[in-house]
Symmetry: none
Subunit: 224 residues, 2 copies
DNA sequence: CGCGTTTTGACGGCGCGTTGACGATTGCCT
DNA sequence: AGGCAATCGTCAACGCGCCGTCAAAACGCG
């Protein structure tokens, strides 16, 4: 999952940005100072960086310049209260890849981050399905519930995919065999039961409500 | 010198943009309609495109989408009078690489075009890729891990390049065959396995953590 | 023709899918 | 309410097929 570094001294702003990014499926991390941000950016792997123009210890532009000077080409979105045209031009020339002025709409910020990342790795757009606090990466066969990452077997992944594409609906055994195994009939084994068990075991961490419900005599259903 | 395509119906605006770009050393060309712009963009080689959101014959966003759909990845700067946040987000999601609202300062417009071009060049013309303690020189086909220099075969280099451009992501056999061999399908041989083995053997010096992981039933992944 | 590289094919190990037995639970019927 | 049958859940073990390995053959370039 794409990691985004937030270099921002104001805690409240940083929290808002992080939340907005998190909702779009990014994995945000936060650094409070320019120094810390530089450190994190150089040691970790990030898909993009949001950089506050004004930081307590150093100018945001100095951070951007330093990053580019060290050969790091992670795209940088400069965020600033300075709306002057000259300031914006300076920000872009200093190594920023985009410039956004405060106050800004969170949605626009996220959209700009997405553009920056999209340009970089234009290939391999990963396909992700979502329902409530559950999401599934169809390529890596990796699920995620309440932030916890869960590795699934291919068959489990296919099964969960079927449920996520038909949430809150009862799926009969026949439908499941049809879709996952291509059978077209119920062979009478407990194949599905076993895989459902596997999924439940991995998805239902203690403290969370169960998400796969059995409809006796009918089939199974994915719901809150 | 870099050519920039201006898709803009208003003659006066187009002339201003062209002059400003020309002064910074760009070679501007002008198309008056969306249709003409599409035509020029697809037939000529441009480093960037400025695209008016409102055109007489078609919506600017439709032009942007059409360009991206045809596989053209020339960066697009969308210019519009619509300053609504939703509009801007739509513009970016539709395939625009940046969004600028009228009225704008010519200098900022030029700066943004420069950023788009700079970013693209650094993407394609980059000679060395890095991830953690691993780096790869694309011209000499030489890798380096923990300081140790490693000579790679051309195929191995291409394969590693693909992984380095998509770190920490699962790459399926199909994706790899598509990218490295241009097949578009999995021929069912163990070609990839053999080359992966070659890379592992060369990259994983004893004492270092393995860096190429297999995701059974899914593909391979480059990580820590 | 000779060298370096890529591809093929055979073989073995092990992960994952499947099976079958058995226990638990549900719902109907007496 | 209680018993019974049908349905579902759980577990461990088997075996197929995917993946790793190796060496030899095919390829391409000079």
């Amino acid at each position: 999952m794409a990691r985004v570094l937030i270099i921002e001294d104001d805690e409240a702003t940083a929290a808002e940005i992080a939340r907005a990014l998190g909702q779009r499926g990014f994995q945000p991390e936060h650094a409070c100072t320019g120094e810390a941000g530089l450190e994190r950016a150089l040691t970790g792997i990030f898909s993009a960086i949001t950089l506050d123009r004004m930081l307590p210890d150093m100018d945001g532009l100095a951070v951007a310049e330093s990053l580019k000077a060290q050969g790091l080409d992670t795209p940088v979105l400069v965020i600033s209260a300075l709306n002057d045209v000259d300031e914006r031009v300076r920000g872009l020339r200093a190594g920023g890849d985009d410039y956004l002025t405060k106050p800004f709409a969170l949605e626009e910020m996220v959209a700009r981050v997405e553009v920056l990342i999209r340009r970089r790795q234009s290939d391999t757009a990963r396909l992700v399905l979502r329902y409530k606090d559950l999401e599934l990466d169809l390529v890596s066969h990796t699920a995620r519930r309440a932030g916890r990452e869960i590795r699934l077997f291919p068959k489990e992944s296919k099964l969960l995919e079927f449920f996520l594409r038909n949430p809150e609906q009862v799926l009969t055994r026949t439908m499941i065999f049809q879709t996952i195994w291509g059978y077209g009939f119920d062979p009478g084994t407990n194949l599905i039961d076993v895989h459902i068990r596997g999924l439940r075991q991995k998805l239902d961490a203690p403290g969370l409500p169960p998400i796969l419900h059995t409809e006796r005599g009918a089939g199974y259903r994915l719901s809150c």
